[in-house]
């Protein structure tokens, strides 16, 4: 190396490379070199420790700041995200819950909100969840009305309630008047009040099955149904005497047994068509479909008013 350096023709002592060929000739120099490398390694270790420490501290700070951030944004509930499978609205929800303005997000009691909403008869089930940073998400499933009922309590005027297929009696909110107006009334059922609501009606799934079938299969017949009476209805299994009496606008009263509604509706349709063909539908007092494959049709005489019975197969 020196040879090469000399070949370059050094002109000043400053051209001599002082960084090369430092052999430590003496123990003092070797000790100093050892100390130097020791300190170098030590300081490298310190630097590495500092970097690791800083990273660790940064991580801690980040975690802490994340939690601080949550605390910070949860101070106020800003939004209620409302979903339903029915007709209730977000505004109704707000009005119903009556949560105070600027309520701390974390102070909202989810269980209480759920219980409060489920206390409303129209609401079948509620899922409430917090969506951070500031949104309360409420998902509601509603009962669907199949019947309506007029209830008169003491001296108060009669009030209209709706009945779901599950037998829940409730005051409907938000329904269109036309839809409610098409629902048949339910009569002849005892209503028991529990607190502010009515006890669930037993056996309504059977009646709602009849209504659903009629609505789907024979809408022209169903459109004339005014009310259903449960005076002779017994929901228990094996109650052969159980009858559902439907008051109609065109063919008087139709009496259904509680078995095979589809077949009974077909028979009713056949009978009503025949009656209409013979222009006797206005004279029908009742049609009894509860007798297996037969139907008893009671007509009223136009002239004498005497009843005439026919049995059709």
């Amino acid at each position: 190396m020196e040879h090469r350096e000399d070949k370059k023709r050094l002109s000043s002592w400053r051209d001599i490379d002082q960084t090369k060929g430092h052999r430590s000739l003496t123990p003092i120099a070797r000790w100093k070199k050892l100390q130097y490398y020791g300190k170098l390694i030590g300081s490298a270790a310190i630097v590495v420790c500092c970097v690791l420490g800083a990273l660790w501290a940064l991580r801690i700070v980040q975690i802490k700041s994340r939690s601080i951030r949550v605390e910070g944004v949860t101070q106020i509930l800003k939004r209620i995200d409302f979903e339903t499978d029915g007709i209730l609205t977000g505004q109704w929800c707000k009005d119903f819950l009556k949560l105070p303005e600027s309520v701390p997000f974390m102070d909202v009691n989810l269980f209480q909100v759920k219980t409060q909403l489920e206390s409303f008869g129209q609401v079948r089930s509620v899922v409430v969840e917090r969506q951070f940073p500031d949104t309360l998400k409420i998902h509601i499933e509603e009962y669907r009305p199949v019947l309506r009922i007029a209830v008169k309590e003491d001296s108060k005027p009669a009030q209209l309630f709706l009945i779901s297929k599950e037998g829940i009696v409730y005051q409907g909110v938000g329904y269109q008047r036309e839809i409610i107006g098409k629902l048949p009334f339910l009569t002849g059922v005892p209503l028991n009040k529990v607190g502010n609501s009515f006890q669930r009606l037993e056996g309504m799934e059977i009646i709602s099955r009849l209504i659903s079938l009629a609505n789907i299969k024979k809408p022209h017949l169903y459109a004339n149904w005014k009310s259903l009476s449960c005076e002779q209805f017994d929901h228990r299994v094996g109650a052969e005497w159980s009858r559902i009496r439907v008051s109609t606008k065109d063919v008087g009263e139709v009496i259904f047994g509680t078995q095979d509604f589809s077949e009974q509706l077909d028979r009713l349709d056949f009978i009503v068509k025949n009656l209409k063909a013979s222009q006797k539908e206005g004279r029908v007092e009742y049609i009894d479909l509860s007798t297996d494959t037969q139907a008893a049709v009671q007509l009223t005489s136009v002239f004498t008013g005497k009843k005439q019975s026919q049995v059709r197969q």
């Binding site: 050094l10 002109s11 002592w13 001599i16 002082q18 000739l25 003496t26 300190k39 030590g42």
Partner: protein
């Protein structure tokens, strides 16, 4: 407080001296560490045993660091030895601008030209000491902005044997230090024992060391000549040892206790015991014998210096001759110098700002190095940083 730690190292034939200084704000120097260790492995200013020389030098550096409680990264190194040679390098360039106004680039060109004079193989420049500028053969101090056609500059350039220089560097580098600057011993000591007025009037500084004698001549405030004579205090001792047939130890003692560099008629007939202490086998000689031996060597030494300086140069030394170095303690050496050089002679005194223990002329070179470092650092802003990181690094290293 901005400060810089500087080290000055003189590896002499008889001793290694290390001084540690603290330059504060670039304009104030405090000497904070001193160490002096008898030298080995050095003869006539040149290293003959690198390992031995390294050992004592490293020990001296460590001792100085310990006494100053500072750590050196770089140091100024004094360079001596008969391999050093000085020549006058002069360069002339034409002023480039159309209006003949001298610019900084003209100065840079002429300086580079003067410094780039080729040397023999195996030789490198140690110092370039600028003498003066000339504009159209007229001496000027600062030619910038002056009008002229030709710009000249002269340097007293000192070169040395590359291997001797590398040996010196290897010793210092071997301790993990970098040589920040190399200054020849005579220039270093000359800057400390003479005043600016003396240098302007013309003065010759003779630094008589143990193995060599370095000299520097100043005129008009600039160095006009330097040289190294391979004769030092050891030669006086050797002469006594050979002439009187005593060992070096006793010869050294005789030189210091009864020796004179001139023949003193008042006591020349007195006899002195060569060993003393009533030692068996001791014998006595007339002082005259001692004086004659020492005077012969002194006249030889000053004769060589006189020979190396031209008569004109000697005549121009209005401020006389200053003797310094450890061997300038020889009694009547100033008279011997006067007899040869026929000039006003005085013995050097180190400046008052140095501690009393550093006033001895043997410290002139090391003090001169520190002084040189102060001058080098003075025009610049202090390099020492006082930031947290720097302090931390300093603490670690």
């Amino acid at each position: 407080m901005n400060s810089k730690i500087v080290g000055a190292i003189e590896i002499g034939t008889s001793k290694v001296i290390v001084l540690v200084g603290e330059i504060i704000r670039g304009n104030s120097l405090n000497i904070i560490g001193v160490s002096e260790i008898p030298s080995i492995g050095v003869k006539k200013g040149e290293m003959i045993d690198l390992k031995a020389a390294s050992l004592v030098t490293h020990e001296a550096i460590r001792a100085a660091e310990k006494s100053s409680k500072a750590t050196l990264d770089k140091a100024f190194l004094a360079q001596t030895g008969s391999h050093l040679m000085g020549i006058q390098n002069t360069a002339t360039v034409k002023v480039r601008s159309a209006d003949n106004i001298i610019s900084a680039s003209d100065i840079q060109r002429v300086q580079e030209e003067a410094k780039s004079k080729e040397l023999d193989a195996q030789r490198v420049y140690v110092n370039h000491i600028r003498n003066f500028f000339k504009v159209d053969n007229k001496i000027v101090e600062n030619p910038i902005g002056m009008e002229g056609q030709q710009l000249s500059v002269s340097y007293w350039s000192i070169s040395g044997d590359v291997n001797r220089i590398k040996d010196s560097l290897r010793v210092i580098n071997g301790f993990g230090l970098e040589v920040e600057n190399m200054v020849i011993s005579s220039v270093a000591s000359g800057s400390i024992v003479t005043s600016e007025t003396e240098r302007k009037n013309g003065v010759l500084v003779i630094d008589i060391g143990c193995g060599t004698t370095d000299y520097v001549a100043y005129k008009d405030g600039v160095v006009i000549k330097t040289g190294v004579v391979p004769i030092g205090g050891d030669h006086f001792t050797n002469d006594l040892s050979l002439g009187l047939r005593v060992n070096n130890k006793h010869a050294e003692k005789l030189k210091l206790e009864v020796g004179k560099a001139v023949i003193d008629d008042s006591d020349k007939e007195e006899k002195v015991w060569l060993i003393g202490g009533r030692t068996i086998g001791d014998r006595n000689v007339k002082r005259l014998a001692i004086y004659q031996i020492l005077n012969a060597r002194a006249e030889e030494l000053f004769g060589i210096i006189k020979k190396q300086l031209s008569p004109i140069e000697i005549r121009e030394l209005s401020a006389g001759v200053v003797l310094t170095g450890g061997s300038s303690h020889l009694r009547k050496i100033d008279e011997a110098a006067n007899n040869v050089l026929n000039a006003d002679i005085r013995l050097a005194e180190n400046p008052n700002w140095a501690d009393s223990e550093l006033r001895d002329p043997k410290y002139s070179t090391a003090l001169g190095l520190l002084h040189y470092s102060l001058k080098t650092n003075n025009p610049h802003l202090p390099e020492e940083q006082s930031g947290l990181f720097h302090r931390l690094a300093k603490m670690l290293f």
